[in-house]
């Protein structure tokens, strides 16, 4: 079937990527299917659950509610991009393990993205602020308390929040 295609160029986890894709391809499907970065998860696909959360130019967004073409010229960070440069888990990721902040793991990438962004803006959030910042991410397993504990533990450890703001973005394509 011939459907409209577009060329997109963007920075993903610090590396420039360029692909030709169906114009209607969502950002989450682009990340998962085209780039094979399957850490970002598809849950509700209509903007409620937060499993698809990624950082766009450093801010959490729902990747299911963006088309990949909209990210052309921008920088995306997925959960794969949160680890340390040597591949070891960040303080935040390790804290999630420590507090049992996940069970099935489906919501976890989205929780990490939202938590990472929170700590970058507010390194010592209160429990209420954590719950507020994570309100766009649903979890069916944990009941949320261990997730809040994880973020608090990470904050107490001075979770290093290397800026995810990208170097100068790629030239904007059409």
């Amino acid at each position: 079937m011939n459907e409209p295609t577009s060329t997109v160029r963007m920075i993903v986890n610090g590396a420039e990527v360029r692909r030709e894709i169906p114009t209607r391809l969502s950002l989450v499907d682009f990340l998962r299917e085209t780039l094979r970065l399957t850490g970002t998860h598809v849950g509700c696909e209509h903007g409620i659950c937060g499993a698809c959360s990624v950082l766009l130019d450093g801010e959490p967004v729902r990747a299911c509610l963006m088309f990949a073409v909209q990210a052309d010229g921008h920088a995306v960070t997925t959960v794969e991009g949160l680890a340390n440069a040597d591949g070891s888990m960040s303080v935040l990721q390790d804290s999630f393990c420590e507090t049992h902040g996940l069970q099935c793991g489906y919501c976890t990438p989205g929780m990490l993205i939202a938590s990472h962004a929170l700590l970058a803006a507010n390194p010592q959030p209160s429990a209420a602020q954590i719950r507020d910042a994570l309100s766009g991410n649903l979890c069916r397993c944990t009941g949320y308390q261990q997730i809040v504990d994880a973020v608090q533990l990470a904050a107490s450890r001075g979770a290093a929040t290397v800026s995810t703001r990208p170097p100068a973005a790629t030239r904007e394509g059409a």
Binding site: H46, V61, L65, V69, S135
Partner: protein
């Protein structure tokens, strides 16, 4: 849950977006934050043949005072507006209303204009716009026109925006006075959901604590957000004490057209409207009586 096919253009100016709207007519939709449109496309409730991306247009992201109004470009992200202390000082109801809107992710993409044009009768920004009498600047290839809030919101999801028009700016009236206070409150099933009923109020007091002027509006209890002018007028000249407020809002229901749905009956919505109207008027009075203009925004965690 995948969108149907569409053609796509990134508009580089409002004029460009308008010419595309004119060229493609009813087959085209503007894509701003996408937080309402893209889920509809995913569920195939909307199938525009052309999507016009307006997210990269700088002239839609202005935010500054102009005379007695604060001008916001329609393309401003709700999160950016919520964080902007200048806006919070000029139009505190915007930050107070945005506290109740969605979640971090939706506010990072959702735009001021998008929410207003989407015109959900339970949405917070339309309610603030209605309460304050904001004015909407609509552009098309034939020029520009300005529509007052009461004429802009027509029915659920329907505004005065024509198919070939792009909302470019919203002008919010800035109040000046020594004793100003405002408040926004709502009841919803979960924090961040659309309101079942929402209410907002802004008041100005004189030095004696007497109400010089007030506005009150209710959302979620009609086909649009509703400014309750008779109640606001009745409060002018009073001391805005609790019993006066309670008496003034007692019959607020006659100004509303609530529907019954799966979330709430019409009767419950009227009850909520009465309770929330009284609450926001009291809170606005308390804020106005404080030494400085204090809109007491809640923590937004960032």
């Amino acid at each position: 849950m995948k969108a149907a096919t569409f053609e796509y253009t990134r508009a580089d100016s409002v004029a460009h977006a308008c010419s595309l709207l004119t060229e493609h007519g009813a087959d085209a939709k503007l894509l701003a934050g996408g937080q309402s449109l893209v889920p509809m496309m995913a569920m195939r409730l909307a199938r525009p043949a052309w999507l016009i991306n307006v997210n990269e247009i700088a002239e839609l992201k202005i935010s500054h005072q102009q005379g007695e109004t604060w001008v916001t470009g329609a393309g401003l992200r709700q999160a950016d507006v919520e964080r902007d202390d200048r806006v919070a000082k000029a139009i505190p109801l915007i930050r107070q209303g945005l506290y109740w809107v969605g979640h971090v992710q939706t506010k990072n993409r959702g735009t001021v204009g998008g929410s207003l044009v989407h015109a959900d009768p339970s949405a917070e920004l339309p309610l603030v716009a209605q309460a304050l009498g904001a004015r909407f600047v609509l552009r098309s290839v034939t020029g520009e026109r300005t529509v007052a809030a009461q004429d802009f919101f027509i029915a659920p999801m329907i505004t005065a925006t024509e198919a070939d028009e792009c909302l470019a700016e919203v002008h919010w009236p800035v109040w000046r006075g020594e004793r100003l206070g405002s408040a926004f409150d709502e009841v919803s099933i979960r924090h961040g959901d659309y309101a079942i009923v929402a209410a907002c109020a802004q008041v100005e007091l004189d030095r004696a604590g007497r109400c010089v002027r007030a506005v009150l509006a209710i959302g979620g209890a009609g086909s649009t957000p509703i400014a309750i002018d008779p109640v606001a007028r009745a409060l002018q000249g009073t001391m805005l004490d609790d019993s006066t407020i309670d008496a003034a809002v007692h019959d607020v229901g006659v100004h509303l057209e609530p529907a019954s749905d799966v979330h709430a009956t019409a009767a419950y919505r009227i009850h909520l409207a009465r309770v929330l109207a009284a609450r926001v008027l009291r809170q606005a009075r308390v804020a106005a009586a404080a030494p400085t203009f204090n809109s007491a925004p809640r923590s937004v965690g960032r």
